[in-house]
Symmetry: C2
Subunit: 237 residues, 2 copies
């Protein structure tokens, strides 16, 4: 007989996100970077001892994965699904408590990272442009790229082979600030990384972690704006 009071998988997973310190850690990790236990302790606002316990629980629950390197232990989100669930929950919360609409400023709405891919208004604009022009075509479980689409994307510096080697080449991820999908999957990841190495996007510094969203914020450089206009016909603000 299974205990009828046993916490189902849903409750167990939700409980992992239900603690303020853990939630802050997860939010910080939505920036896509791997962070050390110490950094996460500071972000969570707890001592190293407490943070260690939290991180162990999150890793045990398969929300995080650890990578030991020397005397540091780097934690990062375990998968795209985890990021999507956090994004979905965060979006829920945002919609019901908009008393201070965007205290983070409009900056975070413009462009930011969602786990490892591009989100925010720019991410949504790219999604609409690519699908609207037929450069991405519906495929099982997501999108595929047309011939012309591959040409255009390659012109922005994206390695399409690497994008195709991901579990999904391209699929939708709901953007919680724009309420429209942006691109996740291998293509989403490559867009973010290629455009950052090319200098089209820059992390909006802000090492002082006064704000959790700060780590996710991106800014489009002038070269990026020009590049996106020329190769994809996108005119970003």
């Amino acid at each position: 007989m299974s205990d009828p009071t046993a916490p189902g998988p849903l409750a167990a997973t939700a409980a992992l996100m239900a603690d303020p310190a853990r939630a802050r850690m997860l939010a910080a990790l939505m920036g896509g970077q791997a962070l050390t236990a110490g950094e996460l302790a500071r972000i969570g606002g707890v001592t190293a001892a407490t943070a260690s316990g939290h991180l162990a629980r999150l890793a045990d629950g398969a929300l995080l994965v650890v990578h030991a390197q020397g005397r540091h232990r780097y934690y990062r989100l375990a998968s795209e699904e985890v990021a999507a669930a956090i994004e979905a929950l965060g979006g829920l919360a945002a919609r019901l408590a908009p008393p201070r609409p965007w205290k983070h400023g409009e900056a975070a709405r413009g462009a930011r990272l969602c786990w490892n891919h591009l989100a925010g208004r720019l991410g949504v604009t790219v999604h609409q442009r690519l699908t609207g022009q037929g450069w991405l075509t519906p495929a099982a479980g997501g999108w595929d790229a047309s011939i012309e689409g591959r040409r255009r994307l390659a012109a922005t510096g994206i390695d399409l082979d690497r994008a195709a080697s991901a579990r999904h080449f391209a699929c939708d991820c709901m953007d919680w600030s724009e309420r429209r999908p942006h691109l996740a999957g291998g293509l989403g990841r490559e867009m973010a990384s290629a455009w950052m190495t090319r200098g089209w996007l820059r992390r909006a510094a802000a090492e002082g972690d006064g704000d959790i969203l700060a780590r996710r914020r991106l800014s489009l450089t002038p070269e990026g704006a020009r590049g996106l206009h020329e190769s994809l016909g996108i005119d970003a603000a």
Copy 2:
């Protein structure tokens, strides 16, 4: 100064789902029906007094909405976003603990309700057929229907005007058992309701709530299988 230990919106929302009794109630409400406080108390495995407190918190957190009718109070999920978040979280949990793969039997994988629209293998098949044939075309924030698509869908008894009056005509919702999207939005809702009134789909009874998923399970009738074959060219198992 805002309290740095204040539970952010993410943690607050997650906490609402983190209690076993509340999670069971939410899971039951994923069937799309509105249930009374008493029924939810039984499903949650707690007394009416305890359940009342839980339901008040869920409603206060905007996860549920109440509808008072006589001396009964009917609770249902507040929105599509809430259902999507629960589905995302549930999917996370399912992937990391598949020791007993599908104790609910394969039945629930075949066809079930997700909030108010069709999910499961059938839902995914319909999604693939409609998009693969070009009967649904990518549009801002989801899908639009082509001329031929409208003709085919209308032939199955769907009221397209009512579907179009929803916030989204059609958009993707990730299916946690199939790992592929099925159709949500107005069209998803109309598909489920039209096909059920037409007798193509039937709720798989099971009033004895021994199983939470039971309330969501659907079965495709012989007429339904024939109808889907003739109008959409779908051959469901």
